[in-house]
């Protein structure tokens, strides 16, 4: 049983006195490093992309009713809020891609450690992809 599980089940005590917030100290230390933030970004970007995907498929599916139907949807997406969301999703997609490649390299290649260089590459690569998309939008 891990310390956290033990704490949750109330079995951990400090000298007979139960901690006020079991496991909290260990959590804060375990999470305050680049690999945990990389995990969180990967998970949240994946969640955002998963929510976006059905809408994306539905939007493209409007082409079944002809080019005019797709165009009338695309006209709606020219509103600033849509363009901003689109830019955000492109950036998150790039982050999820490079962060995912980092996971594959750690798991399938003979490398060990947190590969902080790849975490930096994820942040930099996502920024580059987002900026390139934004630049292309305005040209």
């Amino acid at each position: 049983m891990s310390e956290l599980d033990a704490a949750r089940s109330g079995k951990i005590t400090d000298g007979g006195v139960r901690r006020k917030t079991p496991g909290r100290r260990a959590d804060a230390r375990a999470r305050n490093h680049p690999a945990w933030w990389a995990f969180l970004v990967h998970r949240l970007s994946g969640l955002a992309l998963a929510i976006f995907l059905p809408m994306h498929f539905w939007a493209l599916g409007t082409a079944l009713h002809g080019a005019a139907a797709l165009d009338s949807f695309l006209a709606v997406t020219r509103q600033p809020a849509f363009v901003f969301a689109e830019w955000g999703l492109v950036t998150l997609l790039a982050a999820h891609l490079i962060g995912g490649v980092r996971i594959l390299l750690i798991e399938y290649r003979p490398w060990s450690g947190l590969r902080k260089d790849l975490i930096a590459l994820t942040a930099g690569g996502a920024l580059v992809a987002g900026l390139a998309f934004a630049l292309s939008l305005t040209l």
């Binding site: 995912g100 594959l104 390139a132 305005t138």
Partner: protein, 113 residues
């Protein structure tokens, strides 16, 4: 957990396919988005094009395999939803995504102009 239903390997194999597809998709988006999208430009590029059709069909199927496993991990770890019911729900998500995605591919490649 049973390795066959944990989805770990499905997640990784689909991720390898998606790494290639998403790279192509990102470059394509940046190239074609110039000044905003138009249905005419999208359909001119895709309609009747079997190569793009095959690419997007593979992309859709890889995503439909990848997404449910990720969502299931989140449901298990953050919501505490485990067992057969969450597995069945994730399977349903995958099937719906695959059908919706292939429908979209068909709309762009073989649909009306």
């Amino acid at each position: 957990m049973n390795a066959a239903i944990s989805g770990w390997r499905v997640q990784r194999i689909s991720a390898m396919v998606l790494a290639l597809c998403v790279s192509v998709h990102l470059v394509t988006m940046i190239v074609v988005v110039h000044g905003g999208l138009s249905a005419g430009a999208i359909l001119a590029r895709l309609h009747g094009n079997a190569a793009w059709g095959l690419f997007y069909a593979v992309f859709v199927l890889a995503a439909a395999a990848h997404v449910p496993v990720g969502l299931r991990r989140i449901a298990e770890e953050w919501l505490g939803w485990r067992g057969a019911s969450v597995f069945a729900a994730s399977l349903l998500v995958g099937v719906v995504l695959a059908l919706a995605g292939l429908r979209a591919v068909y709309a762009l490649i073989g649909g009306p102009l």
